[in-house]
Structure formats: structure tokens, C-alpha cells
């Protein structure tokens, strides 16, 4: 058991698989084995759903048994979960009905609800208190009008201005963000490879 608990084994597995996949990506050698490993990854991702189900059930059952604040909502969640799970496996028409007539309107309503509050923010938050706020607001207004086809038809200059904002400052900033993320991922990979990063093994 202690052998299985040692962190060296998962670290060696991680390093071997990662280095092999990078090697295959750049050389094309071992394509079949790489595809097989990716297939294992897909299988593991399916098991993550199982872990999610167990975690959800465990959390809400404990909450109900301890009568924690808001425990009646946990009962509703559990009922919904069980009904959808069983319907999805036993009676597809019921599942489709739940999806089309309960889940779809609820999800769309949730998003629309946010839309209403966005308009309150336009009134309460969009004020030109200084130069930067004014600049941000001006760009937001241009983009908002540019996204409204009718505005572009009445003000043709909005087309090139909107395209320029999207293609130049926006793309430049996003490119910098992406390079930053890429460098961060490389750093994380190297830290994990060298054993400094142990959070995925349950460490700190």
C-alpha cells in the first residue's frame, strides 16, 4: 500500500507520458502508441463524471443528514438528479421531455435574467469619471453600435472602426494573453515534471 502511495510513481508516469506525447508531436514517431494514450485519456475523462456524481450525492446527503442551512434545497437537487439519471437510462422520451420543457427554458431564463441587470449597469456604472473611463465607454458604445446591424447601415463608418478595434487593439491584447497563458503552461509543466507541483496528487 505504501508503495502505491509514493508520489514518485505518478510523477514518473506523468513525465513518461508527457515527454513521449511531445516527442511524437514533433517527430511523428510512435503515432499509434500516442493515439492509444489519448484514448486512455478519453476513458479517464469519462470516469471523472462518475467522481462528479459521487461527490454531488455525498455532499447533499451529508447536508440533509446534518440539517445544514438550506438542506431542503438539497432534497430537491437529489430528486432532480435521480429522476433525470433514471429517465436518461430507462425512458428516453421522459428525459427528452425534461430537457426540452424544463431544463431549456430554465437555462435560457437564467441567462436572460443577467441581461436585465446588464442594462441597470449601463445606467448606474457607465459614467465618464476620468479619461480612461471615457475611453472605455466610447469604445464600448462603438462596439455596441457596430454589433447592431441597423446602426452600421445608418452609420457606415462604424464598420471599419469596429473592424479596426477588433483586429488591432483587441487581437494584440489577446495575443499577449495567449502567449502569457502558453508560458504559464510551460512553467506548470516543468514544475510538475521536476516534482515541485504536487497539487494534482493531493499535495499542496
Amino acid at each position: 500500500m505504501s508503495m502505491l502511495k509514493r508520489i514518485e510513481i505518478p510523477l514518473i508516469l506523468y513525465a513518461a507520458v508527457s515527454i513521449f506525447l511531445i516527442f511524437e508531436y514533433f517527430t511523428g514517431i510512435g503515432k499509434g502508441a500516442a493515439t492509444e494514450i489519448i484514448g486512455w485519456g478519453i476513458l479517464l475523462s469519462v470516469f471523472s463524471y462518475l467522481i462528479g456524481y459521487i461527490a454531488l450525492l455525498r455532499y447533499h446527503i451529508l447536508k440533509i443528514s446534518k440539517r445544514e442551512e438550506g438542506w431542503p434545497y438539497s432534497i430537491i437537487i437529489l430528486i432532480c438528479f435521480i429522476v433525470s439519471f433514471v429517465a436518461g437510462r430507462v425512458h428516453k422520451p421522459t428525459f427528452d421531455y425534461i430537457f426540452a420543457n424544463i431544463l431549456t427554458p430554465l437555462q435560457i431564463s437564467m441567462l436572460s435574467y443577467v441581461g436585465f441587470y446588464t442594462y441597470t449597469i449601463f445606467f448606474r456604472g457607465a459614467r465618464t469619471r476620468n479619461l480612461y473611463a471615457a475611453l472605455l465607454l466610447a469604445v464600448s458604445v462603438v462596439i455596441m453600435l457596430w454589433q447592431a446591424p441597423a446602426a452600421r447601415a445608418f452609420l457606415p463608418a462604424l464598420g471599419p472602426i469596429g473592424e479596426w478595434i477588433k483586429n488591432v487593439p483587441n487581437t494584440g491584447a489577446m495575443r499577449a494573453v495567449m502567449i502569457g497563458i502558453g508560458l504559464g503552461l510551460i512553467t506548470l509543466f516543468l514544475r510538475t515534471l521536476l516534482g515541485y507541483e504536487k497539487s494534482f496528487l493531493g499535495g499542496e
Binding site: 489519448i38 485519456g41 463524471y49 437555462q107 436572460s112
Partner: protein
């Protein structure tokens, strides 16, 4: 007892509701200029040659329905037109989540026109290939090793049109609809022309790939969907929504102006 919203907020909500309801009660026809990115999507899809194959991945959930579904429906119907007219082959799949699978079933079952097409010869549905980016990577390198059967359980090796479609190089076009990060798709499918259907909010994320030519064209939000429907000459869901969206944007701009007039004209004077 919960607190009531301030009068101003309630007024803003009420006006917003009225404004977006107007186009549904009284149909209005506002002009619709076509943006270059949508025109490019139309050209790329209609430029497909006989026998070309397309892999389309539908990876969005219900929260993205209003913005992504109209574009998805328009693009897929345009591709299906190419299947009917030129014998283009279409492979459909989803990799994101179980919810995106439910979205797929709703769209394919209700909004797409498969008439005149034969399953297995003109189009194939792979179903949900779990794993998201891992699944995209697997399908790019060896489709048959990653997905053994189609949605209905038929082995891919027994489906006529799938015999020659084994890896990304066998496809003339790869497309995706996403309501989250568009990164994984160009990352795994670069080398094949890519068409995207995404949220307006994620266009910035996609632009570096567009600039490099990895993503050749994209449709963004309801606006993109409406433009595509207009180019196709088939008004649908997006054209029905676009007028409401335009009016809502005008309302937003009006609120910003009113807020600033109020702030500079009254609030600041009162403070002083």
C-alpha cells in the same frame, strides 16, 4: 421579506422588455449589412467541391443557445445544401458534455433539413465523443481508433462514407460551434481549414488564429447567424432575433447617454 428593486431599475427593466418585445409584435425590417467574416464563411462552405468531407463539432450548452444556435443551424443547413447539390460528406459529433449532446439532438431533430440525404453515405452522426480536447486530438490523429461506432452503434468500418475518412488530412473542412473557449479546436485541427461559430464575447479569443489563417472564417452571435441566413436567402431563427438585438443595443447606448447627462448635469451639481 425580500427588498423591492428601486423604481429606476424597475423602469429600466420594463422599457427593456417593451423594446425587445416590439419586433415580435410588429415585425420591423431593419437593414442588415454583411460583415466580411460571415461572407467568408458563406464563400468557404459554398466553395466545397464534390466529394469533399466536413467534420462539424457542436460543442455548446443551453446557456449559449440564444447566441450560438442560430449560427449553427444556418451553417449546418448551408453545408447540407452542399451535400445535396455536390455530394459533400458531413460528419457530425460533439465532444463537450452530456448537455451539448442534448443540444445536438434538439438541433438535428428540429432545425436541420436532412431531406434527400442518405445516412451513412451523405452524413454520419458520431454522437458524444467524451473528452473535449483529448477527443478532438484523438479524432485528428486517428478517427477510427478514437471513435469505434457511430451514435447508433454501427462500427465506423461498416459505414461506406467513413472508410476513407480516418484522420484530419482526409477532411476538406473542420467546423465547430462553441460557447466557451475556442482554443482547443485550432490547437488540435490546425492544418485543415477551420470555420467557427462562436459567441460575440469570444471573438477576441479567436482573432489571433484568424489572423494566422488557421481559422479561415467565423460567424459570431445572432448577428453572424442573421447575416448568413440573409446570404442563403432563407430567413430563420437569427433573422427573427436580430431586430430585437439591434433595438436592445440602441437602448443600451441611450441609457449610457442618459446616465452621463444625469451624472454631469444633476448629480455632480448637487454634490458641489
Amino acid at each position: 421579506m425580500s427588498e423591492r428593486l428601486p423604481v429606476v431599475d424597475r423602469l429600466i427593466f420594463l422599457l427593456f422588455l417593451i423594446i425587445i418585445a416590439v419586433p415580435f409584435v410588429t415585425p420591423m425590417k431593419l437593414p442588415l449589412p454583411i460583415s466580411p467574416s460571415t461572407r467568408k464563411v458563406y464563400e468557404v462552405v459554398t466553395g466545397l467541391k464534390p466529394g469533399d468531407a466536413v467534420l462539424w463539432v457542436t460543442d455548446f450548452t443551453l446557456s449559449g443557445w440564444a447566441e450560438v444556435a442560430p449560427g449553427e443551424i444556418a451553417i449546418l443547413n448551408l453545408i447540407l445544401d452542399q451535400c445535396r447539390e455536390k455530394g459533400v460528406k458531413l460528419v457530425l459529433a460533439t465532444t463537450y458534455s452530456g448537455e451539448s449532446m442534448a443540444v445536438v439532438k434538439r438541433i438535428y431533430g428540429k432545425y436541420l433539413d436532412f431531406s434527400g440525404l442518405k445516412y451513412g453515405e451523405d452524413y454520419v452522426f458520431l454522437g458524444w465523443v467524451p473528452g473535449y480536447e483529448s477527443a478532438l486530438a484523438g479524432m485528428a490523429s486517428d478517427l477510427h481508433a478514437t471513435v469505434k461506432t457511430d451514435y447508433y452503434g454501427t462500427p465506423l468500418s461498416e459505414i461506406p462514407m467513413m472508410k476513407s475518412l480516418r484522420r484530419k488530412e482526409d477532411f476538406a473542412l473542420f467546423g465547430f460551434s462553441s460557447s466557451t473557449s475556442p482554443d482547443p479546436y485550432p490547437r488540435q485541427w490546425s492544418g485543415v481549414p477551420i470555420v467557427a461559430n462562436i459567441l460575440v464575447a469570444t471573438v477576441g479569443w479567436l482573432m489571433p488564429y484568424v489572423e494566422k489563417g488557421i481559422v479561415v472564417a467565423y460567424v459570431a452571435g445572432i448577428k453572424g447567424g442573421a447575416e448568413l441566413e440573409y446570404l442563403m436567402g432563407k430567413p430563420g431563427m437569427a433573422m427573427g432575433l436580430i431586430t430585437a438585438q439591434s433595438l436592445a443595443h440602441f437602448y443600451g447606448v441611450a441609457l449610457v447617454i442618459v446616465a452621463n447627462i444625469y451624472y454631469f448635469g444633476f448629480a455632480r451639481r448637487e454634490k458641489g
